[in-house]
Symmetry: C2
Subunit: 359 residues, 2 copies
């Protein structure tokens, strides 16, 4: 009876906002089991074939339909982490309609499944003091528009206190958005946890929107240096010298990190690049036939890291970039780890960086 | 040439995160034209039929395919507003894969299209001072979990200053999330604009996660009164008496608003309910055979409003509720306006409320 009332309410609720279209029954997906196996479900009476793709799978797996039209598959236990996945319904790739957790991205729609560990992971929501993520706007003179950015402030942050905080500028991947570092990368929870353990210094993390299309992708460097940094430094109590600024980013954002950081070592003492995509005009312009003053850069850069996974499809070009920077006698520290071009890896790169910067 | 480079970069970028699946070409959707007509596009070489549904349409319209596999349709000019829409690809209803703006909801995935006005609308991003939205967590003793909520603080907000702010507690609809009021309702921009025009008082707006399933939907009232309000009042410089507290909500959240507000008139002097869904155990328990002290409630409630659209599918039950409250001699003010059970209407209800509370 209670269940019936519930289904009635859920059914009515679901019908509120889209009455023109019949709504599927309430189903639970994904369902993570105690042994870390996961059941995925999708409702369709019309589909002919439904498959599951996920970054915990080597290849898509077929889902099977019951008589009520619920397609499902249970995958064997997976290593605790946060994984993107999607369904393919006949010809259509979709996010899981029953899952609120969407991969923030401009070009594909995938869902994410959080498989908790037996012990809390570095990105888990733990019982520690929590910082805040603020959604803000700034005016970009460079780009002539008002643009969004997210700002993480640490637990106990006091905008009027005497503490001046260091700032990490953290850039997403190529078709991601300013929300990807929190929604998929859980940067705020990683920071909360490492700060609580005193493994990271309390810091502000600024997550801008790094895409500046339309084409060809112009430099984001000017917007960062001339607009974002001044906006932050006029809005927050922060350290205004290079030892108080770090820049990091993933993929296209990793390439932007190298461009921004290494052309402005007077402004950023910490440059941490994750699986950088560097096949851009800006990178070629900056680093082909580049003759840096290595001695000076070695003094300016307190930390310069490049991280990449051995299964990353950019592994070879990233290795070549590391070699190029080594040839120029720059103090580059490389982290070569297992894994691919994924946000599972990306979270680990960030967790490492947070423990190394501003120390 | 430039275009080629761009397409190459976009193509490579798009392939980064989901290499296992071939990615569609870069297409622009939705494209809002200067005359407010809109072109929607979707790429598929395999689909047999693609239709567009949207709250600016009375019925779905078919999209047509070009030789490259791009399906499209252009709809005639629509009234400037923000509208939910979706595609149906054969049997599958999906959000627009090219559009980052997703309707935050637990059960369906739709996109939203923002049709700007010739003059800025109440929810437009204007050149005015902007407040901040903070993503936070609080511990719910009632529910035994850590739960998310969003907090809007107005421009110039000073957590340590002498100003004590009034607080609006604003609840989403039945299958929405704590993000729906900002992502779809643009509550923060409506507040920014009305505060800039001095039509609304600077205030804090708290947007909790109102769903407390699993079933049957238990009362959210205790969580609000015993956990959320104390969390806010210990974290922000706020007025801690009833004239400094308002509660409002839409649909299921509108029903929660009536339950919370009218059973705690000592705590909330402003109760504003939008198209409330009231067919719940809690509502029946509270208001069947209810004999309120009308004289006292008239003194306690500085504002009690119920808003609904004449095309809302809840119009009849909402009218009955208004009549019931009138019979009990409560000071209910009703706003009966055109429109349906939509977030287009909901934004207007909020804009009205913001100008009436805390005055």
């Amino acid at each position: 009876m209670k269940c019936l009332v519930y289904l009635l309410i859920v059914g009515m609720t679901a019908s509120f906002s889209a009455r023109a279209q019949p709504r599927p029954p309430a189903i639970s997906s994904p369902e993570v089991h105690p042994d870390h196996s996961i059941t995925f479900r999708y409702f369709s009476k019309k589909a002919g074939r439904v498959t599951l793709s996920g970054e915990f799978l080597k290849a898509p797996v077929a889902m099977t339909r019951d008589t009520a039209g619920v397609w499902s598959v249970t995958v064997p236990p997976v290593k605790p982490d946060i994984y993107p996945y999607s369904f393919r319904v006949d010809s259509v790739q979709i996010a899981d309609p029953s899952n609120t957790y969407i991969f923030a991205n401009e070009r594909f729609k995938r869902s994410i499944v959080d498989v908790p560990g037996d012990r809390p992971l570095v990105h888990s929501l733990r019982n520690v003091p929590h910082g805040k993520i603020s959604y803000r706007y700034y005016k970009s003179g460079t780009l002539g528009t008002t643009r969004p950015l997210l700002v993480y402030t640490p637990p106990g942050f006091d905008p009027n206190g005497k503490t001046r905080y260091p700032v990490l500028y953290l850039i997403h991947g190529g078709s991601d958005t300013e929300e990807t570092w929190t929604k998929v990368g859980r940067a705020h929870l990683i920071a909360d946890n490492l700060i609580a353990e005193k493994k990271a210094k309390p810091m502000i993390i600024v997550m801008p929107y790094g895409n500046v299309r339309p084409a060809p992708m112009p430099d984001f460097t000017k917007d960062m240096v001339n607009d974002i940094v001044p906006f932050i430094e006029s809005s927050y109590p922060v350290l205004k010298e290079s030892r108080g600024r770090a820049v990091a980013g993933f993929s296209v954002g990793g390439g932007q990190t190298l461009n921004i950081g290494l052309t402005h070592p007077d402004k950023f003492a910490y440059v941490c690049s994750y699986a950088p995509f560097t096949a851009t005009d800006e990178f070629r312009k900056n680093f082909t036939d580049w003759s840096p003053d290595a001695g000076r850069l070695n003094k300016q850069l307190k930390l310069f890291t490049i991280s990449v996974g051995t299964e990353d499809f950019l592994f070879e070009p990233v290795k070549q970039n590391i070699a190029m920077f080594q040839e120029k006698k720059l103090p580059v520290k490389s982290y070569i780890v297992p894994g691919g071009h994924t946000w599972m890896n990306c979270k680990q790169y960030l967790a490492t960086t947070l423990q190394e910067i501003f120390q």
